[in-house]
């Protein structure tokens, strides 16, 4: 196989053969070893970091030179020394908890032997600059960063509320009554997108792969709250311990995997913070949090502690449905040898407990009935970085995390369904005696899940400086991810089941389910090249995944390659024109894959309990029932990972203090996971009861039987979902008008989301209307879909008066239009399948034949109408004031004009009130 073929193969990105993989591993090693440093020994930069306000030395500040990828930390007296590069200019980034980020381009010649004096601006409202909005990064791919001051001004209850700072997102009220799913670059949310957004806390993904909290995959009888088969529940992530969040909507680096839509990188606090105590209250939520970061100056380390308690009721007048969350975190960070070969070590231990409770009004309830969903998790995260200053290795990053969660979903209730019922408790195929249940019984079940997730990652980088303005950074590494569930699964008494429904199910033990094991290797090259007065940056990477690995070169799901390419060309700068300080274009294309979570890989078995003999006399001695049980394995052996092809192109420019980024994107997610009905024809005997003499117990062997054929269906996992996202995101930072202390930002997006619900033909049988079931199944064409579009603009005005130590943020959000429609789709079978496997085309005449008429899914003409909603403004308001160094007050009001116009759906004639309710809250924060 030639190189070209090999590459072509990668971009086709189907599972490929091993010679390929071996070749890539070879290249990886090759790159790591052949190269040696170019040029002379680079200069060492010395400096000192101080607090602009207090003039005190700032220790524990991270100093980073991105061109050389070298870094260090300042010591307790603020001093540092760092190896720079041999170039006329280089960038110096300084970051420290509690201070604004500092970035400066430094001319090497200006350095000589002098020390750099760096003054960091503390995050304080009496300083001139405080960043309280999302920052749209000008880097190689579309991403935005939200810092702790911005998070604080939003006054979020969970990570979900921070999302509204992103350009295309709509502001919402904090909602804690149901699970919150993440959605990036799309309208609404869906399970595949939520699952495909990787949320990483300090570099390690929070996995939902082993979540199996559902009663059964073959039915949807869950009364409790669950995010099974979706992304993680954002309500579980408290925000008080977050230093910054980066939302990567574009094409992520190859170090990030097992995702389709994007990634959210959360960095928790490490370093000194004052003791912060916060009380927050609004209509539904009460929150208390406490946090403190200790600097242990003597040994260059820090200890961070954080505690958070939140209680929320869906309706404060009846405190029966509630959500409670407790999180506690302890983090230890240490820097070894900051002056020589710095090595960082971080260990974070996070424990959380969240409980969704549904009780009933004690006046109306029956004693003991509850519905509850409880998650308790413990997570250990160890990570760090080493700068060994070797010829072959610039940096080594390591990350290890293990998380264990105990998920309990339970319900205790009276099962009372109409009257006496007949069920089966059989666990094997065939005819078994049935069981008549009383009409009312107290019953309970527990779904006990214990997901255990282990993640390990090692990444090595090497930076080359080939000469003036020509840098190359090579990165390679591997990660391993294992998810399993050690839980007991669904636990209940078979003879007293919690539900009686059409679909039968039996308890399943989760610890019997195999673990999900993925490993990946990746290689990335990032090149920065100065061409005359322009700069070209290219990042090209490849990630190779072994999904469900059975060994290094053996795989159950296959090997999947994710090539990703980003490029940014900065063609205008101060050097070559007078108008633009910067103008750059960026493009990107990349593939991403998401493995099927355990839910889809190992679904529940399907049980059919066919009623063969039903003889109920009222006399327990004589009652006789026979139920014929059939069991089917619903596993889909052909299940593939979900696949997303992301493309984007962007324009970035800066004119004086006006900054703009515009990004157009198109994403196509294919092979999304879903469940589909799979039909089988079952033959079973129906015992005839009319000739049984009254007052006797029937002997099944003596009874006349009628062989009956019945079509039944079960739910099987399948790759049948497709989502196409496209749109344009824009943001204009217009700078500050000093006379009114107000800065203006305009951002927004145009999104179009198309969801295809069936990408492959599917089977369906309409409900029958008499005792003779249809003896055929319809096979319907693929392609039914829906399309949403939305254009919005957020005009954010930040008034910051340092003298008053006050920040006022007013956001005017306008949704210019909101469109939803379902494209025409003729839902008529292509053909019918009979029990013997034969087929019959569905003809035009059959459409009106009463025998087949129900197979035609005949829609209302209005069903295809477009719902085009008119422009909708909404004004939100946030105020935060530091009374003094120790006290801060904040207040917010969403939609404070309570403007909620009514829209009448053209499709159904029903009405909706747009915009959320007026909602407000306040918090008080003490700092010591």
């Amino acid at each position: 196989m030639s190189e070209a073929e090999c590459l072509a193969d990668i971009f086709r990105s189907q599972p490929f053969n091993f010679s390929m993989l071996k070749r890539i591993v070879f290249y990886l090693c090759f790159f790591a070893f052949i190269t040696r440093g170019f040029g002379q020994t680079p200069a060492v930069v010395r400096g000192n970091v101080t607090d602009e306000k207090t003039r005190e030395a700032v220790g524990f500040a991270r100093i980073h030179i991105p061109e050389a990828d070298s870094w260090t930390y300042s010591d307790e007296s603020g001093n540092f020394s760092i190896t720079a590069i041999n170039a006329a200019f280089f960038t110096l980034e300084v970051r420290c908890l509690g201070f604004e980020d500092y970035t400066k381009i430094i001319r090497s010649s200006s350095l000589k032997d002098s020390t750099l004096d760096i003054e960091l601006i503390p995050v304080s409202y009496d300083m001139k600059e405080v960043t309280v909005l999302a920052k749209y990064n000008e880097g190689i791919t579309a991403s935005s960063t939200v810092g702790s001051a911005a998070i604080e001004l939003v006054q979020p209850a969970s990570l979900a509320d921070v999302m509204q700072l992103l350009p295309g997102n709509i502001s919402t009220n904090p909602e804690l009554k149901s699970a919150q799913k993440i959605s990036i670059r799309e309208i609404g949310d869906d399970n595949n997108s939520a699952m495909g957004t990787s949320i990483l806390i300090d570099g390690a993904p929070v996995s939902n792969n082993a979540n199996l909290q559902t009663f059964s995959t073959s039915s949807s009888d869950n009364n409790f709250i669950t995010t099974v088969g979706s992304g993680i529940d954002l309500r579980q992530i408290s925000t008080d311990n977050i230093e910054s969040v980066e939302f990567i909507a574009g094409i992520p680096s190859v170090t990030l995997g097992d995702l389709t839509s994007g990634a959210v990188l959360i960095r928790t606090k490490a370093g000194y913070t004052p003791l912060e105590a916060k009380l927050k209250t609004d209509e539904k939520i009460k929150q208390f949090s406490l946090g403190k970061g200790f600097r242990l100056n003597s040994d260059q380390s820090a200890l961070n502690l954080n505690f958070d308690y939140l209680q929320s009721f869906d309706d404060i007048r009846s405190k029966y449905n509630g959500f409670n969350r407790i999180t506690a975190e302890i983090g230890y960070s240490k820097i070894f040898g900051p002056l020589q070969l710095p090595l960082t070590f971080n260990a974070k231990l996070n424990g959380y407990s969240s409980i969704d409770d549904k009780k009933k009004d004690p006046d109306a309830m029956v004693a003991g009935e509850t519905t509850r969903s409880k998650d308790q998790g413990l997570r250990l995260n160890i990570y760090g970085k080493w700068l060994p200053k070797l010829n072959l290795l610039t940096n080594l990053e390591y990350s290890f995390s293990v998380s264990y969660t105990h998920q309990l979903s339970s319900e205790a209730k009276y099962r009372s369904l109409d009257g006496p019922q007949l069920i089966s408790t059989a666990l094997t195929d065939g005819e078994h005696p049935g069981l008549y249940l009383p009409s009312e019984q107290f019953t309970s079940y527990v779904i006990d899940g214990k997901p255990l997730s282990i993640f390990a990652q090692l990444t090595a980088t090497k930076v080359f400086n080939f000469g003036e303005g020509f840098f190359d950074k090579i990165l390679c590494g591997f990660d391993y991810h294992r998810d399993e569930n050690l839980g007991k699964g669904s636990v209940y008494n078979l003879a007293n089941p919690p539900f009686i429904s059409q679909y039968s199910s039996r308890p399943k033990k989760y610890s019997d389910i195999p673990a999900l094991r993925n490993y990946s290797v990746y290689l990335e090259d990032k090149l920065s090249l100065q061409l005359l007065e322009t700069v070209l940056d290219v990042r090209a990477g490849l990630r190779i995944n072994n999904f469900q690995a059975n060994g290094l070169f053996k795989s159950a799901l296959g090997f999947y390659a994710e090539p990703r390419l980003n490029a940014e060309y900065n063609f205008l700068s101060k050097k070559n024109n007078r108008i633009f300080d910067k103008m750059a274009v960026r493009i990107g294309i990349g593939k991403t894959y998401k493995t099927p979570p355990l839910l889809y890989l190992y679904p529940n078995k399907a049980y059919f309990d066919l009623i063969s003999l039903n003889y109920y006399t009222g006399n327990p001695e004589l009652n006789t029932a026979i139920v014929d049980t059939r069991i089917f394995d619903t596993t889909n052996s052909g299940l593939k990972p979900a696949e997303n092809l992301k493309k984007e192109a962007g324009l970035i420019f800066r004119i004086k203090n006006v900054k703009a980024t515009i990004t157009a994107f198109a994403e196509k997610l294919t092979n999304g996971f879903g469940f589909t009905s799979n039909y089988v024809f079952l033959k079973y005997n129906r015992y005839q009861t009319q000739n049984i003499p009254a007052g006797t117990k029937p002997d099944p062997g003596m009874l006349e039987k009628i062989l009956t054929t019945v079509p039944v269906s079960y739910q099987m996992p399948i790759n049948n979902q497709e989502t196409r996202k496209s749109g344009v995101e824009y943001s204009f930072d217009l700078g500050k008008i000093k006379s009114i202390y107000t800065s203006f930002t305009i951002d927004g997006a145009w999104f179009r989301t198309k969801r295809i619900l069936h990408t492959i033909p599917y089977q369906f049988k309409p409900a029958g209307s008499n005792d003779n079931p249809y003896q055929y199944i319809g096979v319907y064409p693929a392609g039914d879909s829906n399309i949403s579009e939305r254009l919005n603009t957020n005009c954010r005005m930040i008034t910051h008066i340092p003298k008053l130590r006050l920040i006022l943020s007013t956001t005017v959000q306008v949704i210019w239009y909101d469109l939803f429609f379902i494209p025409q789709y003729d839902e008529v079978p292509m053909y019918l399948i009979y029990a013997d496997g034969s087929t019959q085309p569905f003809t035009a005449e059959m459409r009106s034949n009463p025998e087949y008429i129900r197979f035609v899914i005949n829609k209302d003409q209005n069903y295809y109408l477009k719902e085009l909603m008119p422009p909708l403004p909404q004004v939100n308001f946030r105020l935060s004031k530091e009374i003094n160094e120790n006290l801060k007050l904040s207040f917010y009001a969403n939609n404070f004009t309570n403007y909620r116009p009514v829209y009448e759906y053209r499709r159904s004639g029903s009405f909706i009130r747009r915009n959320p309710f007026v909602y407000f809250g306040a918090e008080i924060k003490f700092l010591f």
Partner: protein
């Protein structure tokens, strides 16, 4: 300044004195169209009843010699108009009735047409639809039943008699009002038999139960159920592979002619009383003929979401033997579905869902020990509300 304030408060004070009247009231003039054959003398005995649908009170008037019934001082609102009258023709009494809904938001003149009521050999004697409450306070409604009574002095055969439930629920205007002289049924269940298998003697009845067991005493039943249906004549049973409902061998099953498969796999009447129920003799000598009739008279109804269509059979009024309009309550009578010639009135229970109460026809007379139930074709007048169910008891 003080003066200005004084004047402003004076104006405000006066403004509050000038009051609008509490409500407007209107004149309503209704012409009763008795038709040409109606004896003049009986016209003035007709009772015209107006029921305010919001506040649920009624007003009665008799028509004058010019055929107009006049109401005055009527507050604005929606009213149901019911006219009833009877004419003795020898030993028989013919009952007439008419019904209409009027919107009174101004003085109004309207007319109501009276038509003669049909009478059949069978009448619906009793419907127990509310279900009962279990010891834990939960719902139980497997004890629902309907009882059909032979109101004549001759033996009648129940074979092939169908029980229908109107498709339109009692929470919105009759969806099928546009289809004249038919009932569009949500379910059709038929008593089996070849025509002379199930005789019903004069003054006797048959009980069709949801489940034919002794609900009160059965260990798997509900001790708080008011009924023992162990002696029911038929039961509704959905013969489906995964039906968890019980099948009692001593109680023959009704034939399921039409009921769309549902998750519950059970035939139920609306427990709050919203089902309009009729019995009919659908044409066709055999089960196959009857099914063919239903299949050939399907009408389509789009789902509220617009995403699909359901089909229901329509049954011509001429095949209806008896019909009883049960509604949720007086306010929901505005959504009455049966036309006056099927049932001029309506009935309901005031005790609510799962209260163990039902509705039963009043006894008109006892002839030689044989009970004759009142059948004026107006269930408002003919039925007793909130009765304890009394299956198979006629005295």
């Amino acid at each position: 300044m003080k003066k200005a304030l004084f004047f402003v408060s004076l104006i405000l004070l006066m403004g509050s004195c000038i009051k609008e009247p509490d409500f407007h009231s209107y004149q309503v003039k209704l012409y009763i169209d008795f038709g040409s054959d109606f004896p003049q003398a009986e016209k003035e005995h007709a009772t015209v009843t107006l029921v305010n649908q919001t506040n649920v009170y009624s007003l009665n008037e008799n028509p004058g010699s010019d055929g107009f019934a006049r109401f005055s001082g009527i507050e604005p609102g929606i009213y149901s108009v019911t006219v009833s009258d009877s004419v003795a023709e020898g030993l028989q009494t013919a009952y007439y009735s008419g019904r209409k809904t009027i919107n009174v938001f101004d003085n109004l003149t309207d007319s109501v047409k009276l038509s003669v009521n049909t009478t059949g050999n069978f009448v619906i004697k009793e419907i127990y639809f509310s279900g009962s409450t279990t010891p834990a306070g939960k719902k139980y409604y497997a004890d629902q039943f309907i009882e059909i009574f032979n109101n004549t002095n001759q033996t009648q055969y129940a074979d092939g008699i169908s029980v229908l439930i109107h498709e339109s629920s009692n929470t919105a205007p009759n969806f099928w009002a546009g289809i004249k002289d038919t009932i569009v049924a949500e379910m059709v269940w038929t008593i089996p038999g070849n025509g002379n298998q199930y005789p019903v003697l004069p003054g006797k009845s048959i009980v069709i139960a949801q489940d034919g067991i002794n609900h009160r005493d059965d260990p798997n039943g509900n001790p708080l159920s008011p009924v023992n249906l162990g002696n029911a004549d038929f039961e509704f049973y959905v013969n489906k592979y995964n039906n968890k409902d019980i099948d009692v061998p001593s109680v023959p099953n009704m034939i399921r002619d039409y009921t769309v498969d549902d998750l519950l796999e059970e035939v139920t009447f609306a427990v709050h009383g919203g089902s309009a129920i009729a019995i009919a003799k659908i044409p066709g000598e055999t089960d196959g003929d009857r099914k063919a009739y239903l299949n050939n008279h399907l009408v389509a109804k789009l789902w509220a979401s617009g995403s699909n269509t359901s089909f229901y059979p329509k049954i011509a009024d001429k095949y209806i033997i008896d019909a009883v309009e049960t509604v949720q309550d007086e306010a929901h009578a505005v959504y009455k579905r049966f036309t006056p010639d099927l049932d001029a009135g309506y009935t309901y229970i005031t005790t609510g869902s799962y209260s163990g109460k039902g509705v039963r026809r009043k006894i008109k007379e006892v002839v030689n020990g044989r009970v004759v139930y009142q059948d004026t074709n107006n269930s408002t007048a003919d039925f007793l509300k909130d009765v304890d169910p009394n299956p198979k008891v006629n005295d």
